[in-house]
Amino acid sequence: MALGLTLAACGSKNDSGSGGTTTGGGTSQAAAKLKIGLAYDIGGRGDQSFNDSAARGLDKAKSEFGIDVKELEAAAGETDAQKEDRLRQLAEGGYTTIIAVGFAYETAVEKTAKDFPEVKFAIIDSAGPSADNVANLTFAEQEGSFLVGVAAALKSKTGNVGFIGGVNVPLIQKFEVGFTAGVKAAKADATVQVKYLTQPPDFTGFNDPAKGETAAKGMFDAGADIVYAAAGGSGNGVFKTAKANGKFGIGVDSDQYNLPALADVKDVIITSMIKEVDVAVYDFITSVKDGKFAKGEKVYDLKAGGIDYATSGGKIDDIKSKIDEYKAKITSGEIKVPSTK
């Protein structure tokens, strides 16, 4: 009870505070008052993947701007109504900037944003909900995947490469389609083996290294020598198997060569497809802080940044110029990378 009253009190106070932020711009006083709520997808902070990337962006903003932050997490098997309740509680609790991580929040953001026009929302990975107070932060994963596909084709000795997707959902299919297109562009007769670890609604494929190990072993046995792991935490298993078999892997989301958790296997990671969710989150918070919130879709692609490939470790230095040629062609629009099968 007492808690509820405090929350309500906070809410009314901060509503006026947010008005100051949007109209007055980025004065330091307004920044100090900025209250950010972040709702994670299943797995939350510590998933070594997508959610963690969002968390990095939030942490960076927090340390730089001294904002007030509240992080909430989704439970497995919950309904849209429960996701909506999460966002509404944040809004009612005075969090005037709310970031929803993952397309699962589509319906929830759409419904909540309508009732809280003064609250600024951002949803990652979905162009779905559209309103004056919603920013859609999406990524062209297929473009980065195309480039690592080129790298795989050029580096493969057997002409046989693999793709391991965490869960068979349209989002991960974008990675697969881009990767395959890249491989074929660089070497038309190359074979691409494709395997998804789990089928929805079983999302454990994003966080099950053992499944990644088994799948990668199968691919290496079938002649592949480089496997692209678009499978979140399961990628660890892929790299472990690659190391044990003297083969190579390609990382995803962040520059995995430099991740402390993967230090043991980093010599097999020739490159990574970088999807900078952290940058998107940080940029969004900065825009709100500076009073420059922009509604609608913001696409992070090769051209705009936010999507790229990594060169850490120096394993692809010899073919970097070729990859950059493709990169230039994609940014100029000469090559249009498909995103669906």
Binding site: L3, A81, Q82, R88, Q89, G128, V169, P201
Partner: protein
């Protein structure tokens, strides 16, 4: 005699209440040990209980959990462990959603559309459960094994069908994928509650009807008697002329048909499409709720409401800084303590009854003497 009834009522209450108190104690200790304040937790939950939206969401969750629990309980009463409720409801929801969203359905009257959708869901659920029943009566395959495997197969089947080339469609810019949206005529309108933006599922009525039918069939019909008799003693049932194989098939089909209903309140009352974010895992919640409610129509209702409230209070806990995982711990501890408490009370009751009988016969025989 009246004395005995008063005591049996008291004993009946002792188990669930004792279990709840025990579970609350354990959770309090865990919270304190992890540096969270149990008082803040109770406070946050009490606040949540006053928020209309949380209550509506809890009731909606409970509706779905209750249906899942009844589906499981029908099997339990026959000593059949239908772990496949999960796969049954997902497959049923997906296929009936595809049907309900199909364009030709637009021309049908609303009532017929809804009835068709629900009917198909029940048929699909029953059919999927029927496979396990068939395997059991013809090949002797344990339904525990076969239903678990059928869950996995259902997952792959749904995933295969949920494809733009087959039963699903995508929206540009969205990473979601689902069946065509059910238009208004096929939806079941919700019940408005003041202070809540979410409506109560119209199909809460369906859950109540299912609960009533479950009670009526089990306690007021010959079939229900035979079902319970088979569950209690198969050989006794056979001796009194019950065909066990027939009972297995019928009760699995019924269990599956009710399982088919599990997805309906959510599908027709809120989602209107079967997509990637359709709630999974409800079948397993059903098992826990059926255990907690002791397969009793009212017991399961109370259990479903409790479970629904705990699930929906998690957001409030999270926002007040208490880790939401405490809800999972609470649920687990409650189920475990209920199972243990009922066993303790059952033993106590058996001993008390034996003593009463012994007294009536003129001498007291202890349990040890009886078993010796």
């Amino acid at each position: 005699m009246r004395n005995l009834t008063a005591r049996s009522v008291l004993l009946g209450l002792a188990a669930p209440l004792g279990a709840l108190v025990f579970a609350a104690l354990v959770c309090g200790i865990i919270l304190a040990a992890t540096g969270n304040s149990p008082i803040d937790t109770v406070d946050a939950m009490a606040t949540a209980a006053q928020r209309p939206r949380t209550l509506v969401n809890s009731l909606n969750s409970a509706t779905v959990y209750y249906l899942a629990a009844v589906a499981v309980a029908i099997g339990f009463r026959m000593k059949l462990f239908n772990i496949g409720v999960d796969g049954q409801y997902r497959l049923a929801a997906m296929l009936s959603a595809a049907l309900a969203g199909a364009a030709f359905m637009d021309n049908l009257p609303s009532f017929l559309r809804i009835a068709l959708t629900i009917g198909v869901a029940m048929l699909v659920g029953a059919g999927w459960a029927g496979l396990a029943a068939l395997l059991k009566v013809t090949r002797g395959v344990s339904e525990v094994i076969s239903t678990i495997m059928l869950n996995a197969i259902a997952t792959y089947l749904v995933s295969y069908l949920l494809n733009p080339a087959r039963l699903a469609e995508t929206t540009p810019g969205s990473n979601n994928i689902g069946t065509a949206k059910i238009t208004e005529g096929g939806q079941v309108p919700g019940i408005e509650v003041s202070g809540s933006s979410t409506k109560v599922f119209g199909l809460v009525v369906l859950a109540a009807v299912v609960g009533f039918v479950y009670w009526f069939v089990l306690s007021r019909t010959k079939f229900g008697f035979e079902l319970k008799a088979t569950g209690l003693s198969e050989s006794a049932a056979v001796a009194s002329g019950v065909s066990v194989k027939k009972m297995v098939v019928i009760s699995m089909l019924l269990s599956g048909a009710v399982a088919g209903l599990v997805g309906m309140p959510q599908l027709l009352g809120s989602s209107y499409t079967y997509s990637l974010d359709f709630p999974p895992g409800l079948g397993f919640v059903g098992i826990a709720v059926a255990l907690l409610g002791r397969n009793h129509p009212v017991g399961m209702m109370v259990a479903a409401l409790l479970w629904g409230f705990l699930d929906n209070a998690a957001n409030a806990l999270d926002i007040s800084g208490v880790p939401r995982e405490i809800v999972l711990i609470m649920q687990g501890v409650i189920v475990l303590s209920v199972v243990v408490a009922y066993e303790l009370v059952r033993r106590y009751r058996v001993r008390a009854e034996q003593q009463a009988v012994g007294k009536a016969l003129g001498r007291t025989k202890t349990l040890e003497e009886v078993s010796a």
